[in-house]
């Protein structure tokens, strides 16, 4: 009887500890969402952490201490990024300026393309209703491109905080990730400790593999598009490849968005449309046949409907950032639900 009373008292303490732990997590999440630049800085820091962690593990296996390995890998990585930017920036900036100069022609071309399609549709369905899509598209494009060219320098200077904070957070996440997670786990009540540890490890492993796979996929798709467009002599190959690589990070919809600018340019120039479609189709074919089955599909086992619903929810909540983080967030929720079910519900059956 004495034991039972003690157990009741212990359960109360455990519940209190759990509420305290969950409150700390909730406050952390609130800070991430409410403080300017914090969410994006941490997301980028985690991307950096998961990209570089295997290299640090490799260095540790070779006998280098964790702090030295982190410093070494960080220095090498950012030197490489610096060299890459130094090499690629002149090409990209030349193409960016050329594209800027040609922009009014492309806007007018797109407007007339849409007008053409519009009149054909009107002919076929023989309707008197005015769609006026071309005028709407023109005003939309003008506002988008104006915001792209005029707001980009402003956006970049505003993002400076994020650009500086992300590597700073990433460095300490890499160097002290073990002790940070250990200290957080110390706060978990005893009865949930094994569940929390197991969850933390599985989510971390899955996120790491997912981020590395998606980045690799984006780089490969970007390189194929760049090589293909360069071979067929298509203009703005650097810019379009960069755009294709970035949009490829969004599942299903991303590759289509990535191909649209090149297709429009080809249609307006009236040359190379088939070749451009061929290049993008080839890049997607390589992605679907080799990269997705080998590196992506096994990592996040989500149903396509779940993926699309997650992207829509992500886009509505956080815009483009939401679209990018929706899949990892959905898989995190799935892993958590599975583990909680196994640990807390299934074992009592």
């Amino acid at each position: 009887m004495n034991i039972l009373i003690q157990q009741q008292r212990l359960k109360k303490i455990e519940r209190l500890k759990l509420v305290l732990f969950l409150s700390i997590i909730a406050v952390g999440l609130l800070i991430l969402l409410k403080v300017d630049n914090m969410l994006l800085s941490f997301l980028l820091a985690f991307v950096l952490k998961y990209t570089l962690a295997p290299l640090i593990n490799y260095s540790e296996r070779k006998g280098v201490s964790k702090s030295h390995a982190t410093l070494l890998v960080f220095t090498l990585f950012f030197s490489l990024i610096g060299i890459l930017i130094y090499w690629a920036l002149p090409y990209i900036s030349v193409q960016f300026k050329a594209f800027h100069a040609e922009l009014p022609r492309y806007i007018e071309g797109t407007r007339s393309l849409i007008f053409d399609i519009e009149s054909r549709v009107e002919e076929i369905i023989n309707t008197s209703v005015e769609f006026n899509l071309s005028a709407q598209a023109e005003s939309l494009m003008v506002s988008w491109t104006r915001s792209l060219f005029e707001d980009l320098p402003n956006f970049l200077s505003k993002s400076l905080t994020t650009i500086l904070l992300a590597p700073f957070f990433a460095y300490f996440l890499l160097k002290d990730s073990h002790s940070i997670s250990k200290k957080l786990l110390d706060l978990v009540p005893n009865s949930f400790f094994e569940l929390a540890l197991s969850l933390q490890y599985q989510i971390s492993e899955q996120m790491g593999q997912f981020i590395r796979a998606r980045l690799l996929e984006a780089v490969i798709v970007g390189m194929i598009v760049w090589a293909g467009l360069s071979i067929i002599g298509f203009p703005y190959s650097h810019l379009l490849a960069l755009f294709a690589a970035l949009t490829n990070l969004i599942p299903y919809i991303g590759p289509i968005i990535g191909a649209i600018p090149a297709i429009i340019i080809a249609m307006i120039n009236g040359a190379g449309l088939l070749a451009v479609v061929g290049v993008y189709a080839f890049a997607q074919l390589i992605d679907i046949i080799f990269i997705i089955p080998l590196v992506v599909a096994k990592i996040v086992n989500l149903h396509p409907i779940t993926v699309v619903v997650s992207i829509i929810i992500g886009a509505q909540l956080l815009g483009i950032v939401g679209m990018l983080v929706s899949i990892p967030a959905a898989s995190m929720i799935k892993v958590t639900a599975q583990n909680v079910y196994h640990h807390l519900i299934n074992f009592r059956a």
């Binding site: 303490i13 005893n190 009592r348």
Partner: protein
């Protein structure tokens, strides 16, 4: 003065962890610097008297070594009708380990419950820790795994011998 006391308090705690680890069958092949590395992967958990460490049938992801205190191992007593009590099997003391099968078995279920008898501190070593250790220090992880396999092999052989003896007894009773 405060710094001196603080450092020594933790130093003594660390020394005790290393001492307990060096006497444990799984870690006895490791040098003191390797034990220091391993200790960074372990978790110290504190339990109050009568607190359950793990419950029979729940999923376990690792093992515990007793740093301080005593732990009772219990088997669920269905006739008693209460999941918080059980039949006493054995009492473990400082340096003893429990739950080592969960360190390598996927979705392993605890075969008995463990309850702290008094204020106890336990060192937890879990599958995620072993996997992380194998990634960054494969040599150390490998030696621990080898020792663990030896322990489990010996247990298996003892169980096989017991089953054979029991079969013989059943056969003699039948005859």
């Amino acid at each position: 003065m405060i710094n001196y006391l603080w450092e020594n308090l933790f130093k003594r705690n660390e020394d005790h962890v290393i001492k307990v680890l060096s006497n444990n069958v799984l870690f006895k092949d490791l040098t003191s610097s390797e034990l220091q590395t391993v200790s960074n992967f372990l978790h110290i958990r504190h339990y109050r008297p009568a607190e359950l460490i793990f419950r029979q049938n729940e999923i376990g992801v690792g093992m515990y070594i007793i740093l301080k205190g005593k732990v009772d191992i219990l088997i669920e007593n269905h006739s008693a009708g209460d999941e918080d009590t059980g039949d006493f099997i054995t009492r473990l003391e400082e340096g003893d380990l429990m739950g080592e099968l969960s360190l390598i078995e996927e979705n392993s279920r605890r075969t008995a419950s463990a309850r702290a008898m008094n204020e106890s501190s336990l060192l937890g070593f879990f599958q995620p820790d072993l996997k992380n250790l194998l990634q960054s220090h494969p040599e150390i992880g490998g030696r621990i795994l080898l020792r663990l396999s030896q322990v489990l092999g010996r247990r298996l052989s003892e169980t096989a011998t017991k089953i054979t003896e029991l079969k013989k007894q059943i056969d003699s009773i039948k005859a």
